[in-house]
Structures are given as structure tokens and as C-alpha cells.
């Protein structure tokens, strides 16, 4: 099963605003490893070559925080989604 199909099995309540803000200037200036592309269990990060920007599909976030821990450059401003939003596990 593809990862996006797996995520589609989960219950999400999606906020309009993202709870993950990427500071592109830090990615461009400092980051050589782009860990976020690999470490995210939801595989939600991608690189947009045209814009030279990291893009995150925050709506599928499992709220583990791995990206924030792995991004040692501090380019990922990460907060939990506001109350009522985000993934709602039915098994956990």
C-alpha cells in the first residue's frame, strides 16, 4: 500500500493554517542534507525545484515531531495543531 493510501485510513481534522512553518531562507542557505525528505513517517516533505522550496503537506501530519528533531538547522517551526485539529487516532 502506498504511503498516501495508508494515511487516508487515518482520521484527520484539517486546519486551514499549517502548524508547520518552513523557513526557506535557512534551507537554502544552510541545509545540505534535506533530512526532512527522508525521516518523516508520513513522507510528507518534498522539494519543489522550480521554487527552490521544501513543501510539506501538513494535513497528513501524524504529529510525531521527527522532522523538527532531525532539522538541526532549525528551519522547521513546529507546533501541535490547535485543539480540535490534526490526526485523531482511533486505536493508538
Amino acid at each position: 500500500m502506498r504511503i498516501d493510501e495508508k494515511l487516508a485510513l487515518d482520521a484527520f481534522k484539517t486546519d486551514k493554517e499549517s502548524h508547520i512553518i518552513i523557513r526557506h531562507e535557512i534551507c537554502r542557505k544552510q541545509c545540505t542534507t534535506k533530512q526532512c525528505l527522508f525521516v518523516c513517517p508520513g513522507h510528507l516533505y518534498s522539494y519543489n525545484e522550480e521554487l527552490d522550496e521544501i513543501v510539506v503537506e501538513f494535513a497528513g501530519c501524524l504529529e510525531c515531531g521527527t522532522c523538527m528533531v532531525a532539522c538541526q538547522d532549525g528551519a522547521i517551526d513546529w507546533a501541535y495543531p490547535k485543539g480540535e485539529f490534526g490526526v485523531q487516532y482511533r486505536y493508538g
Binding site: 485510513l9 513517517p41 521527527t66 501541535y80 487516532y89
Partner: protein
């Protein structure tokens, strides 16, 4: 502003256990939970070892919605293309309620309902955004536009604990001290689970996998039987994932695990119903945060209370115990009407008298010991390999078993200084 006694940030096991004890002692307590209900943001592997918390928990866990009592323990060393298993069961494990599998959305929700029955306010759908301060002392929390003033704030907001961070009790998180767990819940009939894992109804199996499942990265696989679901997953050290060359996508480890011959048959015909991920503290004793400040204590994962001993992984009983002990400390602080760091430091002293700090302290060398690729590639590759050589009959005559073993042990470097040193280092853990 009028203060209540205690506000708890986070309705996981640590927060709920704390609230339970506080309510029993007659203190006013509010639990603030960001999910739709307690448990909706939580993930466990997982199982709870009941014995260590049985006396501390009192009647809290009576009638708890456990999934299965674990009576069978399995460890698998996964080589490249082969595997070696240890399968353990014992009368003692089958007889006593030693450890139980559970699912958090069910379990924590049940506990929160029990709490509400005691008159505790558990407020869901509110994210705790910030701490309130009075000078140098924490004086409550802010959640959205709501403020709750309290004599003590309990930071029970999980492994990422933003509240412990805001209180200056926890340093920045480093990749070395944390692992990411990915888990799938697979629906399978109760009968099939009983048959495939060789257990009776109500009995379960817990299995850990080491080796090729993480492609040499610190971590491993796990498989727990629930009543009519399986919890299966991969844990990988974040630093190990970051250093992996060529890089591997975390979720791909999970997929590859399920494709293994050893796993495929066990989950065959099952229906995937949920995919989750969560970070796990792996720093052990040295990874514990500062546990108290003026008007604040830190409990459970937020404090870094988790213990990976390679062959066992524990977390939830540390959460329950630390929450309960924090509550006892707060009760004493209230009697003395002193909520300063000095008064609350008694929390750490009390913890030191229990398994929470004792087990963690006794295993303080463990993270360093396990931070060794040997355990995740060399041994899991070689031990099944020895068996393969012994069990395989090829063309022509077979060499003697002892001679084969000797040759393999020498050839694989099992008798090298490095390996003997690893063996010698076992005494430290």
C-alpha cells in the same frame, strides 16, 4: 486570579494517573487535552508491565480495557535472508497478570471517563499554548483564549513537551536521544490470532525484531497481539536514520518489514485500519529532563521516562508511576502551602525510592551500550548465519558440526578483540 490546585497539560497516562491520585486526595484538578478525547493523540507499541505499578495505582486499573495478557515472548534476530527466533512462555507468565497489550485510544479514554466519574474536569480539544507566570514561578496555563490559574502545573504533554521546554526544564531535543516509531494496526479475527501465535483467547504474544528490519540502524521491529488486531511497527533512531547512507525513507522500513517472509504469514488476510507515528525517548537516565521548578513538575514521556533494555522496552508504567508520585508530592506541597521548586523537589526524591529512577539509573550505560551497529547488523547477520551453516545439507559430505561452528566463529570475527570486548562490556549493563 483565583487559583485551582492543579492543572495538568495532557491527558495521557501520566497526566490521567496524576489526576486520579489528586482527585482521590480531594484536590481540585483540571486536565487539558488537545485531542478529541484522551488517547486520540497517543500511540504505544505496546504493552504495559502491570506488576511495577500495581500497588501505586491502587484501584485505578481495576477493570481496565486491556487487550491480551502477554504469555508468550519472542525475539527474532533478522539476518539478510534468514532469521533466528527465541520463543519463551512460562507458567508464571500464564498464571499472573504480568503484562498486557493495549491500545491507547481505547485505554486512555476509558481512564478519563473513570476520572470524570470522580468529578475531575477533563477538557478535550484544547491545546495548552503557554504557561502563566508570576515572577519566577509558573502560575497556570493558557489554552487558546482561556487561562487557568493553578498552584501547580503538571507538564504531561508527552515526549515533545513544549511546556517543559518553556519552563526551561528541558534542553533542545537532539536526534541521538530519540527514536521514531511507526506503527500499523491490522485487524485480524481473534481465532486467527490465537492460532497463529499459539495462544488462548485472552492470551497474547509480544515479539521484538532486531537486525535487517532497520537495515542496521539503531532500533528494531515489534509485534503485539491485541484482542482482534495486531500492532506491528518499526522503531528507528533518528540519528541513525539521518546518518544512513544511502538514505532510506522511514516509512519504507515499515513496508519492507511487512514484506518479510517471517511477517507476511502472520498478518496475511488482515486489514490495515490505522497508521501512526510517535517519538520515543531513548536517552535513558542521562536523557531525563529537570523534573521540577517553581509551580511545575514534569511527568511521563515529557520527562524522558522510558527504558529500552534491548530485549524489553518500557514506558507506560513509568508514566503511571511518575504521575502518581507527582500527585503525592503535590498533596504534601498543598498541606505545607509551599509550591516552590524546593518543596516540589521532593518529587525527585520520591521517584528515587521507586523503580522509576532506580531502573533508569541502573541502566544508565544502556543507551551507550546499544549505540553500536554490531547489535543491529553484525550479530543479527551472523547468528542466523551459523544456524544456516549447521542445518544445511548440500551436495557431498557435511563437515562436522563443531568444526563448522569453529570455522564460522573465527571467519566471522566473533572471536576478535572487538567482539570479546563487547561481551566483556555486558557486565556494565
Amino acid at each position: 486570579m483565583d487559583k485551582i490546585d492543579v492543572v495538568i497539560a495532557g491527558g495521557g497516562l501520566a497526566g490521567l494517573a496524576c489526576a486520579y491520585r489528586l482527585a482521590d486526595k480531594g484536590l481540585q484538578v483540571i486536565v487539558v487535552e488537545r485531542g478529541d478525547f484522551p488517547g486520540s493523540k497517543n500511540v504505544t507499541g505496546g504493552r504495559l508491565y502491570l506488576m511495577p505499578v500495581r500497588s501505586l495505582a491502587g484501584d485505578m486499573l481495576d477493570d481496565a480495557p486491556f487487550e491480551r495478557k502477554v504469555v508468550r515472548e519472542r525475539w527474532s534476530l533478522m539476518g539478510k535472508g534468514n532469521s533466528l527466533n527465541i520463543d519463551f512462555t512460562g507458567e508464571k507468565f500464564r498464571g499472573e497478570g504480568h503484562s498486557y497489550t493495549l491500545l491507547r485510544a481505547r485505554f486512555d479514554r476509558w481512564l478519563s471517563e473513570k476520572l470524570m466519574g470522580k468529578g475531575v474536569f477533563v477538557i478535550p480539544k484544547y491545546r495548552v499554548d503557554d504557561l502563566l507566570w508570576e515572577g519566577e514561578s509558573v502560575a497556570g496555563i493558557r489554552a487558546g483564549s482561556e487561562e487557568i490559574a493553578a498552584h501547580v502545573v503538571v507538564a504531561a504533554d508527552g515526549v515533545l513537551s513544549f511546556m517543559a521546554e518553556k519552563a526551561g526544564l528541558r534542553p533542545k531535543m537532539t536526534p541521538k536521544n530519540y527514536a521514531v516509531g511507526m506503527k500499523e494496526v491490522i485487524e485480524l479475527s481473534e481465532e486467527k490470532i490465537n492460532d497463529r501465535f499459539n495462544v488462548e483467547s485472552g492470551e497474547g504474544c509480544a515479539q521484538l525484531f532486531l537486525g535487517d528490519v532497520t537495515q542496521g540502524i539503531f532500533g528494531g521491529g515489534f509485534l503485539y497481539t491485541n484482542r482482534d488486531t495486531l500492532s506491528i511497527g518499526i522503531v528507528a533512531g533518528i540519528q541513525g536514520l539521518m546518518k544512513k547512507a544511502p538514505p532510506v525513507e522511514a516509512h519504507a522500513l515499515m513496508d519492507a518489514f511487512k514484506e518479510k517472509y517471517e511477517i507476511k504469514r502472520l498478518i496475511d488476510g488482515g486489514k490495515l485500519v490505522e497508521y501512526s507515528a510517535h517519538i520515543i525517548p531513548e536517552g535513558g537516565y542521562n536523557g531525563i529532563s529537570k523534573l521540577y521548578g517553581n509551580g511545575i513538575v514534569v511527568v511521563g514521556d515529557a520527562a524522558g521516562f522510558a527504558l529500552n533494555m534491548g530485549v524489553t522496552v518500557r514506558g507506560m508504567e513509568f508514566a503511571i508511576a511518575s504521575g502518581t508520585i507527582a500527585a503525592d508530592t503535590i498533596v504534601a506541597a498543598k498541606e505545607a502551602n509551599d509550591f516552590t521548586a524546593k518543596a516540589l523537589s521532593d518529587y525527585e526524591r520520591r521517584l528515587q525510592e521507586t523503580f522509576v529512577m532506580r531502573d533508569l539509573a541502573a541502566c544508565r550505560e544502556m543507551p551507550e551500550f546499544l549505540d553500536n551497529e554490531s547489535f543491529f547488523s553484525y550479530y543479527p547477520d551472523n547468528f542466523p548465519g551459523f544456524l544456516e551453516k549447521i542445518m544445511w545439507f548440500g551436495d557431498g559430505p557435511k563437515e562436522k558440526i563443531g568444526a563448522t561452528l569453529w570455522k564460522e566463529m573465527k571467519g566471522s570475527g566473533m572471536l576478535s578483540f572487538k567482539r570479546l570486548k563487547e561481551l566483556y562490556n555486558i557486565r556494565k549493563i
